[in-house]
């Protein structure tokens, strides 16, 4: 029996083939590990728990097993609450161990850029094959000229509203300008059907409304240099001044404490007439037509439609969140992870998942605008064009760590919340500008 000391064992266990060459059969036995060519690579993929549960089931029961067969690897697929992903990423990076691939939302890849693997080859290949990525995917997915993640899809919100109640308020189509919003909202609230919008500290819906609202008035956080704070402007003050009567006259006051699921519950229970949200409300109503009914007893799904957020002097915008698969820098399986991403992002595989979403998300590339999924349900069609009106937090600067800090501290959201709670508009803007100045210092 060949005697192997500790150092030798470590060397040998690093590569089974080398073990075989150096120590022969005895070496392999001593290392208690099969040679590399006999091992199965284990990949650990973490994603959020999807708002369309059928998509997670498809991944778990069909796509992941298919991937294991196609690539000869073992995949541990895990879904967690979106709010917990950042804690998971942080602990994994700091400890240098954890999942091989983690799905990020919003601008998160920019926060962890130096701890992620370069996946330029895969991202370029997928992007070129599928008509090119949207600009927002490039902005979030590229750091220092390299792709730090492979864009998967884009999720975002539109205004979901009750057609019949809008018609009773005199609007056959959802209002376009903010003045029309105010007029319609006042009538709706008077009829007992207020607009529902969160002004609380919550992950998606608060920023999803108030950032585009600010931009639509022409307001912005910083100049394009990403340093000069530009919040304290006539446009921002106007937006805050308008927000106060709009809130009081049109909105459900409970929104100050809502989280991301509160408006779903309020809408489906018939308490509110409109809210900015992903398509999850409509998809839920569609899934259970007998459960969610209008006051006339008809299926609520038939009374639901979607519209873009209001238009102001600055235009109309949305704040969608790109979903990006990050290969972690500490991963020992980077090649296998990239092979898997190349496979799972390919047209035939991704199409299965994309179809299961029923329009809840857009593809990361323009190719998916032509997918037949958009022909199936006209109520979902407005989501197709969402990426084209997209801006990212931190506008007009990059969606970097500073922008994330502003968002994490809810400075923009709280600017409006403070005004709604009685602070003069100028003071609220001044407070927010002061906070932004400290962040961007």
């Amino acid at each position: 029996m060949v005697r192997i000391n500790r150092r030798r064992l470590l060397q040998l266990s690093g590569a089974g083939a080398a073990t075989a060459a150096a120590g022969g059969l005895a070496g392999i036995l001593a290392s208690s590990r099969a040679p590399a060519y006999g091992q199965t690579t284990n990949l650990h993929w973490v994603r959020w728990s999807d708002y369309v549960p059928a998509s997670d089931q498809l991944l778990r029961n069909k796509i992941v097993p298919d991937g294991e067969k196609a690539l000869g690897i073992k995949i541990q697929f895990e879904t967690i609450n979106a709010n917990d992903i950042q804690a998971r990423v942080t602990s994994s990076i700091q400890s240098g161990s954890g999942p091989d691939i983690i799905m990020a939302v919003n601008n998160w890849p920019q926060l962890y850029a130096t701890s992620l693997a370069d996946v330029s080859d895969v991202a370029e290949e997928i992007g070129n094959a599928q008509g090119g990525y949207y600009d927002m995917c490039k902005t979030v997915g590229i750091y220092g000229g390299k792709w730090i993640g492979v864009p998967w899809a884009i999720g975002g919100g539109l205004v979901v509203y009750r057609k019949s109640w809008l018609a009773e308020a005199g609007y056959e189509k959802f209002p376009v300008t903010w003045d029309q919003w105010h007029d319609a909202g006042r009538k709706l609230k008077a009829a007992g059907h207020p607009i529902g919008q969160t002004l609380g500290h919550t992950f998606g819906d608060a920023s999803g409304f108030w950032y585009p609202y600010l931009w639509s008035w022409g307001g912005k956080e910083v100049e394009a240099d990403g340093k000069t704070v530009a919040l304290n402007s006539k446009e921002t003050i106007e937006s805050v001044k308008f927000a106060v009567p709009f809130w009081n006259d049109c909105c459900d006051p409970g929104g100050l404490a809502w989280d991301d699921s509160s408006n779903n519950r309020a809408f489906l229970s018939g308490t509110i007439s409109a809210t900015n949200n992903g398509a999850s409300i409509y998809l839920e109503a569609k899934k259970k037509p007998d459960m969610y009914l209008t006051d006339k007893g008809t299926a609520m799904k038939d009374d639901i439609s979607h519209a873009p957020l209001g238009t102001g002097a600055g235009g109309h915008f949305a704040l969608p969140g790109p979903f990006i698969d990050m290969v972690m820098g500490y991963s020992k399986n980077q090649k296998a992870a990239k092979d898997f991403l190349r496979w799972v992002h390919s047209k035939p595989v991704f199409e299965e998942w994309f179809t299961s979403q029923q329009g809840y998300t857009d593809g990361a590339t323009k190719y998916w605008e032509k997918d037949p999924v958009w022909d199936k349900d006209p109520v979902m069609l407005p989501f197709r064009d969402l990426p084209n009106s997209a801006r990212l937090m931190g506008y007009a600067g990059p969606p970097n760590q500073k922008a994330a800090e502003v968002q994490t501290k809810y400075i923009i959201v709280d600017m409006y919340a403070k005004a709604v709670q009685g602070m003069p508009a100028e003071d609220a803007v001044k407070w927010a500008t002061g906070e932004l100045t400290k962040v961007y210092a």
Binding site: Q86, A87, V89, T90, I93, Q94, L111, Y112, T114, S115, L199, G200, H201, T202, D252, P253, G254, G255, L256, A257, W258, D259, S262, R265, A266, S269, T271, G329, Q401, A404, E405, T408, K409, Y410, D414, A417, K418, Q421, W431, G434, E435, K438
Partner: protein
């Protein structure tokens, strides 16, 4: 006369030879070290190491995945000038002070009630522990539903009783939001006070009460001059634990309000989490967490001083 045979003691030479470890442990100093070692290791791993790591992080500019450089006390200066941090400090102090006062008052009241003999005493004692036993996140989610502006059962009840004619915005109004999180904290913390103080009450000899009663002391006088002085050391210890736990509370506020609306319920811990995890600024998150330390240290020293004084007295 009876003779008993006494077995001769075995000679020393015939006893089995003791090993070096046994001989070492016969020395009390070494035995003490060995017995203390597991505790020292556990405290070192789970208390000292994170604390020292936190201090080291707070004097650098470390971000997630980016090793930091030494920046001295710059993070503390930044935090000091941070308006949201100051709001968090104020909220934490108010939250801790009011919650602790109510927990003490209600806990003491409950303990005195439970110290009496009544039917179903054992069941009641076990039952009141429920808020303390249920995982905080679960019970807080239930409270979130009860405070929900649209579906609040509290509002429904008050409305049906004719007490209110419009919905109360429990978590949406800044003042009510802070009051709401305090209510939940009190609800969760009262059983800990009640059971601990009940244990303290049961150590007080009934003879003392009987003697006081014979001397003509009324119920309140007996409580004021007999029960309270004897219960004081236990009360102070319970308060010490409670203040530390309440000061560092996280789950409850994170689930109920996330620190909102407009930072009205932002606490040290929720803000530290936002900055450290949400933004990836680990050093600043650690700095905010460490800022609790001097405040807590003063509170602990003052309370320990009083505990010692009460025990000596």
């Amino acid at each position: 006369m009876t003779f008993t045979t006494v077995a001769a003691p075995r000679s020393y030479a015939r006893t089995p030879r003791r090993g070096p470890v046994t001989r070492l442990l016969e020395d009390e100093r070494w035995l003490a070290i060995v017995l203390l070692l597991p505790t020292v290791v556990l405290l070192g791993l789970f208390i000292a190491y994170p604390f020292i790591k936190g201090i080291m992080l707070s004097v650098t500019d470390t971000k997630v995945g980016v090793p930091g450089h030494f920046v001295g006390l710059q993070n503390f200066v930044n935090v000091w000038h941070d308006g949201i941090f100051r709001v968090a400090v104020w909220n934490t102090c108010i939250y801790t002070a009011i919650a602790t006062i109510f927990k003490l008052a209600l806990g003491l009241w409950l303990a005195v009630l439970l110290n009496n003999n009544f039917k179903g005493k054992a069941f009641t004692r076990a039952f009141i522990l429920l808020p303390f036993i249920i995982p905080t996140v679960l019970s807080t989610l239930a409270w979130k539903w009860m405070f929900d502006p649209t579906f609040s059962v509290i509002n429904w009840g008050l409305y049906r009783l004719g007490i209110i004619d419009h919905r109360i915005n429990w978590l949406g109004d800044p003042d009510l939001a802070l009051i709401s999180v305090i209510i939940v904290n009190v609800w969760r913390g009262v059983p800990f006070f009640a059971i601990s103080l009940l244990a303290g009450l049961q150590t007080i000899s009934p003879e003392l009460h009987e003697a006081a009663a014979i001397d003509g002391a009324r119920a309140w006088q007996r409580f004021r001059h007999v029960t309270w002085p004897l219960l004081l050391p236990v009360t102070l210890v319970v308060m010490l634990f409670s203040v530390i736990q309440t000061f560092a509370d996280f789950q409850l506020v994170y689930v109920l309000t996330g620190g909102g609306p407009a930072n009205a319920t932002q606490l040290f811990s929720t803000y530290a989490y936002q900055i450290g995890i949400g933004t990836g600024l680990l050093s600043q998150g650690a700095t905010i967490s460490l800022a609790v330390f001097p405040v807590l240290l003063v509170v602990v020293i003052v309370q320990l001083f009083y505990i010692r004084k009460a025990e000596t007295h």
